[in-house]
Symmetry: C2
Subunit: 461 residues, 2 copies
């Protein structure tokens, strides 16, 4: 019987296993998932909300447990680490983490879904008790267990998505929060002129944001626990430290096996999620999720984006193909949404520096509007920045910072980028209008009007 | 000096006047707006929220007053009715409503922005005190003035957008509300299987909804005021009656002048909003707003849609063209959003009966999901129905009924319809994901997956 081995049982791996299972009968295809941890199919994105006390965890964050997968005919082996991939013998070297027992498992098809590894710089004290990552459910549990009335000061290192979400979580738990970011502004996935809005609003919420922070060490007390975070410019007392510095593709196994990695360090696949480096031994090797790099459809470049929604889509595509269907993951446009307390943040497409790097000549337009008719209760200010290619008017990117209803407006831009629309096209879009939901000119349209004028189409729109 | 005359000073007319004014100096173009009422540029869509007490009116609903227009160089003449258009002499016959004085005003360019007229069937008692339309600010004021502690029962005739919004307004004012709708379900802009969800939820809110209601008369008491609404099947006591039966294009002047009307009764224009019926005398005649019909880009058919967002866009396009620019209004995809209390309702594209009428063979897919990650606080159920062309998979329409965050998700479908995407294309869209904003598979994507399976592309998506 043919055997599919999946390395990694979270979003991408479990989706691939499930789809392959659905499409090919158990008598024809054996599906084995090797998971080094104890959970499968969980929402890592939900951890900040669990830590913040908004969500009961960890069970609520688990979409499908190992037992549920097994009931559906997927042989999930938790506590089982893949230690090597032998392409010649088509075997995975496996170790049982509890017993230490080593074994080998043959495969016909292999899905590499090894995820990403949080960045954890080799600073003095980084491994001290009280320094927490937030990638796994065990991480979340450890952080919640570390909360105590006398631990009142949290320092979050990194002001990206995880950083701001964890700042909110610590704030919700009543701690004083300081975010240390190495950039000129938090949220480096935005242009600095939009990031500054996030910075200002976080300060207004009582979250201390330190920019240009060059973190040099984690200082520990006599008990060995974290006591402060030391930067080049100052020392920040801390009872808890949260690491939110992003993640890198976890591709050690793949690299050792000689599989092709892209410039971002992620596995490179084709549209069907096949790993292919020109070597016939790569046939039947698939990859999906945070360990791969994705094609950005706007820049035409590959990049690494660790995001659950891509992992789910890619895993599903791999599983459908393994199951005998035909499916593709065409790429991304770089959409991301987040929030810190009630401030919503969204982006898609290219920032100015991405557009520069990709060689576009472009114009920018930034407008302020509201998410509802100006007179409707709860109408809050929203800032929209739009990038458009100078001569053609092609939409290149949008960034939004605002409150109620701001973030998901980015989806309009995501679809427009996918369809390669111009900003002039955008001005005519038939978007939903009613006073509780939008001004009569949706903020996206207002930005598009201004962008269209700036690209020189003023007389045509 | 050239003179532009605009008939109607609300959204479309005022936008056209403003744009033309901006683009051509006062010494070159005189801009005269004839407005029969006393207000300009107001949000009729906001009236239900003013009546409901959510918004202070009427000033908040006025985007730009006649005085503000005048300061910007637009000669707004309120209380001034256009009574006829003489294409041969290029004059408008004008009457001052206060003095009754008649005059004639020559034009070089003419914008017809006469709006729509609420449907008001010639039933016995329809003009009795206590029966209210809600189209103008004066209507809103009259209804608010009619609220009184002993007037506790409101009957709303019509269960469309205005009807349900006014039902909410009356509910907010503490009245018992009955909505009479002639159809099988309220919200006939949805398919009946989606309308029934609105019906059920309105009943759950304590709003009585009577379907298949054949309204025959408004019954008045000895004081001449409304007392009840009589249908073929029963009599509904009423202290106040609100008419919400939609509106028809107000094209009497245009018809008398021999200008071309479409099947919907609205003025037909080209993409630049020029009225053109093949007669050279039509040169320089423009139309915009609720008095025109629009091209539905999905069905390829013209229809009448009275909606402020279209009126604003069309007026702007006409004004830009009159001002010497080049602008077009390419058409609509039929997007509309609304709400009744906390229930959000959205639609775009074609319903089943529209698809039938347009000759499409299609599949439908209906799914339930949530507007946030299922575990995130406030995650509410959302129902999404999607129509796709059977063989090609082309997206034809989407309808959504749900709560927090449901309505504006329709914008994704609106853009996808504009770009003529397939439902398979939709499954790969890079929409914003974070637990407070969406499940890892956005409800639109879940619906697209199911629709793609049903159109026979199951093995390819």
């Amino acid at each position: 019987m043919e055997r599919l081995v999946v390395i990694g049982g979270d979003a991408a791996g479990a989706s691939a296993a499930s789809q392959a299972r659905l499409r090919r009968p158990p008598g024809e295809l054996e599906v084995v998932v090797l998971e080094r941890g104890t959970y499968t199919s969980y929402s890592a994105c939900g951890i900040p909300y669990w830590v913040g006390g908004l969500v009961d965890g960890p069970d609520a964050l688990i979409a499908r447990s190992p037992e549920e997968h097994r009931r559906r005919g997927v042989d999930v082996r938790t506590g089982t680490e893949a230690e090597g991939i032998d392409l010649d013998r088509r075997e995975v070297a496996v170790r049982d983490r509890a017993t230490g027992a080593a074994s080998r498992l043959g495969f016909d098809q292999l899905v590499i879904a090894t995820g990403a590894t949080p960045v954890r710089p080799p600073l003095p004290g980084i491994d001290a008790p009280g320094v927490h990552g937030v990638q796994t459910l065990d991480d979340g549990r450890a952080l919640i267990d570390a909360l105590a009335p006398d631990r009142t000061r949290a320092v979050v290192i990194g002001g990206g998505y995880i950083g701001i979400e964890m700042a909110e979580a610590m704030k919700l738990r009543g701690l004083d929060v300081t975010v240390l970011d190495r950039g000129a502004q938090p949220m480096s996935t935005l242009d600095p002129d939009m990031g500054v809005l996030v910075h200002e609003q976080m300060e207004a919420m009582g979250i201390d944001v330190v920019t240009h922070a060059d973190v040099q060490a984690v200082e520990t007390g006599p008990d060995g626990r974290v006591r402060a975070v030391v930067t080049a410019d100052g020392t920040y007392p801390a009872d808890l430290v949260v690491l939110g510095m992003g993640a890198r593709p976890n591709t050690g196994l793949a690299r050792e096996a000689g599989l092709p990695l892209g410039d971002s360090g992620g596995l490179r696949t084709d549209l069907r999620m096949r790993v292919w480096g020109g070597d016939p031994r790569h046939a039947g090797i698939w990859a999906a999720g945070d360990c791969v790099e994705v094609l950005n459809l706007v820049s035409g470049r590959f990049q690494h984006i660790a995001l659950g929604t891509h992992a789910n889509k890619q895993g599903r595509v791999a599983g459908m193909n393994i199951g005998g269907g035909y499916a593709t993951f065409p790429g991304v446009v770089g959409t991301a949404v987040s929030k810190v307390c009630d401030l919503e943040i969204a982006r898609t497409g290219l920032r100015e520096k991405d557009a520069d790097a990709a060689g576009f000549a472009y114009e920018t337009a930034t407008i302020q509007s509201t998410g509802r008719a100006g007179y409707y209760p709860g109408a809050d200010k929203m800032t929209v920045k739009m990038l458009a290619e100078r001569t053609t008017g092609r939409l290149l990117g949008v960034q939004i910072v605002g409150r109620d209803g701001a973030a998901k407006r980015i989806d309009v831009a995501a679809v427009a980028l996918t369809a390669r629309m111009t900003v002039e096209d955008l001005t005519a879009l038939d978007l939903g209008y009613a006073p509780p939901f939008s001004p009569v000119w949706d903020p996206i349209l207002v930005a598009a009007r201004k962008a269209a004028q700036k690209v020189g189409a003023a007389d045509r729109v």
